[in-house]
Amino acid sequence: MLARLITGLTSGAGYALVAVGVVLVFRSMRVLSLAQGEIGAFGFFVGLRWADRGIPGVRWHISPLLTLVVAVVVSMLVALVVERFVVRPLASRPPIDALIATLGVALFLALLEKEMFGTAAQFAPSPVGAWKIEVFDATLTAPRVVAFVVLVVVAVLTWALFTRTRFGLGVLATAGDPAVARVLGVRVRRVYRFAWIVAGALAGLAAALLGAAFGGIAPFDMTRFGLRALAGAVIGGLDSIPGAIVGSLAVGVLESVVGGTFEEPGTAELAVLVLVLGTLLVRPRGLLGTEGAT
């Protein structure tokens, strides 16, 4: 049981990386993005393709570590494009418009992946090495350990950003009221761009680490992981980064423990859904969310 709990935490860490991005975007624009997972997947697919066939024109086959770097960079660029050309034009419209648009982006990217990289799954070699550690009978592979470590770093950095920097305060002001933030001198568009770029980078990281941890990646995989991240964000509070982290870790642990206890397929997913429903009914703002923020 302890082994399942620990491995569940590492899966949850991967979801949390995506969930932090979801919350960043939600805090800055009040847009619930369903595209984060597939944005990360697209970047990772590009990295895997360049590792397999070489960079077009250069024919240099990049190393597994660089697949992670490419995943992060490409995902940042894709996120930037989505922010500029899909979400920002919808910023003043009802939130459902942007939500549906991000769903469209996720589907578009997944289908593009199928077209460009094929329907078959891609083997995803670990970008962070093939080492393992044993923790209380749990064998943790490198991608799982790194996901957890990166999550800790992200948690510290975001805490510092929002409590120690003027830019972070600007993001908070934008979340409260963009018009007032503008009056106060906050460059709101810059805040929007920042949120999407960071969210894209985190999605790329998550795709590379989860893809390697789960033994391969296929189109739509990260959309499913993204939904788990969204579940974590809803459970923790859509406007709370600590909440998203706690919620996602809870999702990972719940999946692992329930899935290990009940053999019937789908039981773990059902348990997560019940937890989400319970949260929405009992505490709609989530564990650590702000009253009225969602």
Partner: protein, 417 residues
């Protein structure tokens, strides 16, 4: 407050796909024909059905110089086959047509995508029959989808070649011919091979969560018990899942010596990879129509080392597939052929043999009758032995073994271990 509720509802709606994953697909089991006993392939020869049509029959899709064949394939959706499959189909018929066709008729094909869904598959079958007016249809899809499409085409009395053969092919589906091993027969043979040939006594099976696979699993477990082996783990999974850590841990705890992964390539490779990460590496076993394709090794290059498989067709490493490989390259600008295209090629050979046997006076009844009595050994496929009442024509398989990231023949086509 209104905004809060709305956001909460939107979030809930977005999470609904999780429910899909949780519920899985449910299909009613078809027990129309009664069961074959485990390990008793001969029993299938005794199935009987309704009165058989005679004479030439309808000539839909047949003219003096053309025969039109329809293909229903899952090119997109939950369990797609790569498009190289239909490149193999095209390569075969181009090869045949270049040599004068069948009794002077050129064969043309119409390929439709089932999108891996039974209802869409039936819609596309209707289109093939009513709009395209094809003569016969070749179907490949997930077993439960293929069953539904096969029943639909049978009701329309259209000759159908099903690439997968379900356990207990219903006796009333007289128009439907299965060209690979019956899943129930296969389940028993898997146990025979692992216990008798490899000398193993701790076996496992992990299968996708669909009732269509239950007969195969039951036959495997029953035969293993009969042979004195222990099935130390038997679990089902959702094929669309990605995180199989719980299964990997359970497999590791089971200490199974060989595990049959009765599923599509991606979950099989993922389970092998995640088990490997957990320090567990048994002999992984594939039934061919699941993941005994070379491409699976691209997803699990190390973890699938030493894997074994049953296959109704030969691997690319066998020289008997050279003709296919040459024609595929010629048809596709030198593109490297694979074993998915080989399946398209092989089933083309079977359909062509049926058309040849039906003779120049081709009609759907005469073709059905020719298939019903077809005894044919394709170059790349298990020998077919249809006979009166028998429409599962290939209850033999080749045993394949992994060698340097590709499949090689360990034992040629057989039904005995």
């Amino acid at each position: 407050m209104v905004f809060r509720r709305r956001t909460a509802i939107l979030g809930l709606l977005a999470l609904l796909p999780l429910v899909g994953g949780a519920c899985g697909e449910r299909f009613e089991e078809d027990d129309a024909t009664g069961g074959l006993g485990p390990g008793a392939p001969e029993a299938s020869a005794t199935t009987t059905g309704p009165a058989l049509p005679s004479g030439r029959g309808r000539t839909n899709g047949v003219t003096d110089d053309e025969i039109k064949i329809g293909y229903l394939l899952p090119l997109t959706g939950a369990a797609p086959v790569p498009s190289r499959f239909d490149k193999g189909v095209t390569a075969y018929w181009d090869y045949v047509n270049a040599r004068g066709g069948i009794h002077g008729r050129q064969v043309t094909v119409v390929v439709e995508d089932t999108e891996s869904q039974a209802e869409i598959g039936k819609d596309k079958a209707k289109k093939l029959v009513e709009d395209d007016e094809v003569f016969a249809v070749v179907v490949l899809d997930r077993l439960e989808n293929q069953d539904a499409i096969g029943q639909y085409l049978n009701d329309l009395e259209v000759p159908t070649i099903s690439i997968q053969t379900p356990a207990d092919l219903p006796a009333d589906q007289i128009w439907n011919f299965g060209v690979t091993i019956d899943h129930r027969v296969q389940g028993a043979l898997v146990a025979d091979y692992l216990v008798r040939d490899l000398g193993l006594s701790r076996l496992g099976v992990i299968h996708e969560n669909t009732p269509a696979l239950d007969p195969g699993v039951e036959a495997f477990e029953a035969e293993a018990r009969e042979l004195g082996a222990d099935v130390v783990i038997s679990r089902s999974i959702e094929g669309q899942a990605a995180d199989f850590l719980n299964e990997a841990l359970a497999l590791s705890e089971s200490r199974a010596e060989a595990v049959w992964l009765y599923m599509a390539p991606l979950p099989a490779a993922r389970i092998a990879n995640q088990s490997n990460d957990a320090g567990f590496h048994p002999i992984w076993f594939a039934n061919s129509i699941s993941w005994a394709f070379d491409l699976t090794f691209l997803v699990g290059p190390e973890s699938l080392e030493g894997a074994r498989a049953f296959s109704p067709w030969l691997p690319l490493s066998d020289p008997r597939t050279n003709e296919y490989q040459e024609q595929y390259r010629a048809n596709n600008d030198g593109e490297t052929p694979d074993d998915l295209g080989l399946v398209g090629w092989g089933v083309g050979q079977i359909v062509a043999a049926g058309l040849e046997a039906a003779g120049p006076d081709l009609g759907q009844n005469s073709f059905r009758d020719a298939m019903q009595h077809l005894r044919f050994a394709p170059d790349v496929w298990a020998p077919l032995d249809f006979d009166d009442g028998v429409r599962q024509g290939a209850n033999r398989i080749a045993v394949l073994a992994e060698e340097d990231g590709r499949w090689v023949v360990e034992r040629d086509f057989t039904s005995e271990f």
